[in-house]
Symmetry: C2
Subunit: 203 residues, 2 copies
């Protein structure tokens, strides 16, 4: 699940710059968890990390870049931690289902992702390249997982490539309904039901 | 598919006010189709409709309210025109599939919907009530369609209620991938494949 990108590169590549950059991202994630997507301001992050606002802007030139950085860090965590070790490239459909369970326990980061995904499809939005690139590697990864577990055409009759688009769409789409009505929408159960249908596996 | 709402009510209920309001919405839709979501400004709408900006604000107190008005008008059209006559309340799964085909031919209105859906899940956003309400009636309508055509538990083993959430999520989620990569994502074909899986029907 390796991926490249041309946005939000760290300004410094030295280990001290990298450590400070990671600290800003962790603090930003904490602010989002506490105050929500709209509660994230560069001023609040700067205060908590002990930098001037200008100091934060040195690492992330805008609030959008900082939000993309937070999501990118989540991606790195998601493809390493629950999927069995750093830089893991192999995962299973069961791991995907676990990821949806993890998401159901972190509404504010899901809200950040979903809000930015919505903005990203408007013209020239800074998050556009991040999401386009992310869709490519997410679909490729899921497609290769489905092919490995169920073959080119799965027992359902759906191809691995189609299945990857469908499961990705379901994850994204469920999140909007869930954020609007968390009591009514059981994301993990629904996602589990759909992976069963899309693959055609028995349980 | 009747629905109530407590936002974006017309300011005037007289027929002249209603006609002017409808004209503003049609013009706004045209501006979106030509210039995209970000290209819609109250100034441009006012110019084309021959009102001052203040005049437009009399009908729609903010750009967000105007966008919600455009989407609400699309909803009214969608549940009447392709589904067989004014105020139609009955529709089929085939009508839903046709709706996805219609959407694939109107990227700018889909972009407007998807961008506003993204914003709507942030705190206190003016589009929040519209989307929450819309999800309720869309799911209820699809659920009742699925129940009518396939029974409480469909041949797939999925209930009508679960199927309604899944198909709604698929429509929303596919649109984001399609807007980022229209060449790669064949929305109508994928949605057709999904309705077949979710219902368990043969073709």
């Amino acid at each position: 699940m390796a991926h490249d990108s041309d946005t939000a590169r760290p300004v410094r590549h030295g280990s001290r710059g990298r450590a400070r950059r990671d600290e800003i991202l962790s603090v930003a994630l904490g602010v989002i968890a506490e105050n929500g997507y709209r509660g994230l301001t560069l001023g609040e992050v700067a205060k908590r990390v002990g930098l001037s606002q200008q100091g934060v802007l040195h690492y992330f030139p805008s609030k959008e870049e900082l939000l993309i950085g937070v999501l990118r860090q989540r991606d790195e965590w998601d493809v390493s931690a629950p999927f069995g070790g750093e830089n893991a490239v192999e995962f299973t459909v069961g791991d995907l289902e676990m990821l949806v369970e993890v998401n159901a326990a972190r509404p504010e980061i899901v809200r950040t992702f979903s809000a930015l995904l919505g903005e990203s499809i408007t013209e020239e939005h800074p998050a556009g390249p991040y999401f386009k690139d992310r869709y490519d590697w997410v679909r490729d990864s899921i497609e290769s997982t489905l092919r490995g577990e169920f073959g080119e055409t799965m027992p359902s009759g759906i191809t691995a490539a189609q299945g990857a688009i469908m499961l990705t769409a379901l994850m994204d789409g469920l999140q909007y309904q869930w954020l609007h009505d968390p009591e009514k929408i059981d994301m993990p159960e629904l996602f589990h039901g759909l992976t069963r249908l899309v693959t055609g596996r028995e349980s």
